[in-house]
């Protein structure tokens, strides 16, 4: 009797729980503002949200983003675009350094966003050691983490120099050390490797990867070096002439604009003839890019290339090719069909398309 009572009691508790959950779910689903509720839930987990952002410099529209951009903890966003695309303007808007229309929602204060600006300057009235210790409010002698960073970037001999006496690379390293030390929830690296030699660039990228490995910090990396972004970014934001061309997961964007994988070979007449039967993508002038929609197509292309002893490179995250084709598609072209691609090129809707080769 007692056992049956407990069973009925437990059963009724289960029914109440399931009923509660169902009624909550129903309320969400049937609520008139369901998308808003869902969005609010998403926004609760975000660091920053951008909506209908517009920046004007005089009569010129520097940025006009109609879509919604959300930055979440742990995001690694690569921001790409040619000069004047609006990359730095976007960073400045987020920091509140330029007037804008639209909304940028964040709970982060300006001081909680780490920034390596494209151009950084410091006072020349004292050695950089004093500048570093002041900006970080620490002492190099007592801060082991800072000592390690200084050692890694081989910056010890520069500490007693004034900022104007540092070389271009040393100046970059000086700011990078301090930005890394900030450990901010959201950090922007605006063309951080510009002006650095290849070896320093590689080392810096390795260090960035290592430093932020497994951390919740969100990174936005503005760069013209696609290989850097392939290494660092998991999301890509493509800007062109102030417009948002694409934003999303790197793999998803690649799939959307390039297919399952891309095979690139040298651009020669022989290779062109050889690959005529396959779908071509827009690509830099020295390459032919072949789109593989699935594994079967990929194997078919590779077989042909192997038979003809043609060197090739296969990628499922080539940001450069994705970028070129995303831009072409945005301006009304077709990215995977060779004939349409040619039409797009002839259309001359976008000046920069002429930099690329349509096969």
């Amino acid at each position: 009797m007692k056992d049956s009572f407990i069973s009925i009691w437990n059963l009724s508790k289960c029914v109440v729980c399931i009923g509660g959950a169902l009624s909550e779910l129903t309320a969400y689903v049937f609520a008139a503002d369901f998308p808003r509720v869902l969005r609010r839930r998403m926004e609760a987990n975000m660091l920053l949200s951008i909506n209908h952002l517009q920046v004007q410099y005089g009569k010129q529209t520097a940025l006009d983003i109609e879509q919604n951009i959300m930055i979440e903890p742990g995001d690694r966003i690569g921001i790409i675009g040619s000069n004047g695309a609006g990359k730095t303007t976007l960073v400045k808007s987020i920091l509140g350094l330029t007037n804008y229309k639209g909304s940028i929602q964040t709970e982060l204060k300006k001081e909680e966003i780490g920034v390596h600006m494209q151009y950084n300057n410091y006072t020349n009235t004292m050695p950089v050691k004093n500048v570093m210790e002041t900006l970080l409010n620490t002492s190099i002698k007592k801060n082991r983490k800072l000592q390690e960073l200084i050692h890694f970037f081989e910056f010890e001999p520069c500490l007693k120099k004034r900022y104007s006496s540092l070389s271009g690379g040393q100046k970059q390293r000086f700011t990078i050390i301090m930005v890394m030390m900030q450990d901010a929830p959201l950090t922007f690296y605006d063309e951080v490797t510009s002006g650095l030699d290849f070896e320093t660039r590689q080392k810096l990228m390795e260090k960035l990867l290592e430093w932020y490995q497994g951390k919740e910090n969100a990174l936005c990396i503005v760069s013209h070096y696609y290989d850097e972004l392939e290494l660092l970014a998991d999301k890509v934001l493509v800007l062109d002439q102030g417009k948002l061309i694409a934003f999303g997961n790197k793999e998803m964007l690649f799939e959307k604009y390039c297919g399952h994988a891309v095979i690139t070979i040298d651009n020669s007449e022989k290779n062109d003839m050889l690959t005529k039967q396959f779908s071509h993508l827009l690509s830099p002038g020295h390459l032919i890019a072949l789109s593989c929609q699935d594994v079967v197509e990929e194997e078919k292309i590779i077989r042909v290339l192997l038979e003809q002893d043609v060197n090739f490179k296969r990628s499922n995250h080539d940001i450069e090719i994705m970028y070129i084709n995303a831009k072409a598609l945005y301006y009304g072209g077709e990215c995977v069909d060779s004939h349409l691609a040619q039409d797009t090129m002839k259309g001359g809707q976008n000046e920069e398309k002429h930099e690329y080769k349509a096969v």
Binding site: N99, K110, E111, E112, N120, N121, N130, V131, Q182
Partner: protein, 260 residues
């Protein structure tokens, strides 16, 4: 993630940084510390043969009072304007802000550092002048009054320098304006050897509007314990203070931003 983790307050390191910033400007060091002492001894030595021995100590005190005003002028009006304009041109305050120092903290550190440096320069000047010259003994009230005048001038000069550099945000035009002001004030207030009475009428009117003229020419009466009408000097302080205020408001208006 921890919030407000990077926001810093005005601290000893920041004040030290601002002091190094002031002292790292050799022009401010020379014109703020060395130049007034040098001028004090050159002028008093030159007039020794021309002034009767009985009045020499009072004359020395007059020069001592006049030259002391070069200190806040050189360090704040000229030095601070030059340094801050350069900082603005290089967007250094922005970098400070991005590294977690709010504008208020950076400003407070600047004010404290400038006060320390001006105080040190006044002390050095006072000690060397007091030991090296045959000054007539001032009353305690006169010394306190002069110190108060120096700090009041310092506040006004800081306001003008900050306003002008914020208006131009470039070193070149800021320095040109401040140098013109610096030498203009020195000429108008009798620090270059020209007495205010010898100036053309309209320049005398401008001269009377500047508290430095009253301090340089008339404060000797207070120093010597004679009666002195403070009203014109206070009016001049109010006038120059208002000018500084207007410049600051103009700079604030120019640099205002509306955000979406």
């Amino acid at each position: 993630m921890k919030k407000n983790m990077n926001i810093k307050q005005c601290n000893a390191k920041l004040i030290k940084y601002e002091m190094l910033n002031i002292l790292g400007n050799p022009f401010a060091d020379f014109f703020g510390v060395v130049f007034p002492i040098m001028m004090l001894f050159i002028i008093t030595k030159a007039m020794k043969s021309e002034i009767p021995a009985r009045g020499y100590a009072e004359a020395c005190a007059t020069v001592f009072i006049s030259m002391s005003m070069i200190i806040p002028m050189a360090i704040l009006l000229l030095g601070y304007a030059a340094t801050y304009a350069q900082e603005l041109e290089k967007e250094i305050p922005l970098r400070m802000m991005l590294f977690g120092y709010p504008e208020s903290a950076a400003m407070l550190a600047k004010i404290i550092a400038q006060t320390i440096v001006v105080t040190a320069a006044l002390l050095i000047y006072g000690i060397i002048g007091g030991i090296g010259l045959e000054l007539s003994m001032p009353t305690v009230g006169a010394v306190i009054g002069l110190i108060l005048c120096q700090y009041l001038l310092g506040v006004i000069f800081f306001g003008i320098a900050h306003g002008v550099s914020s208006l131009f945000r470039k070193f070149g035009p800021t320095y040109a304006v401040m140098m013109t002001l610096y030498f203009g004030i020195m000429i108008l207030c009798g620090m270059m050897g020209i007495k205010a009475e010898d100036l053309p009428k309209f320049l005398q009117v401008i001269s009377n509007l500047l508290p430095m003229s009253h301090i340089g020419n008339d404060y000797i009466d207070v120093w010597m314990g004679r009666s002195y009408n403070f009203v014109p000097m206070l009016q001049a302080f109010l006038f120059l203070g208002a000018v500084a205020g207007i410049i600051m408001v103009m700079a604030g208006y120019k640099n205002r931003r509306t955000r979406g």
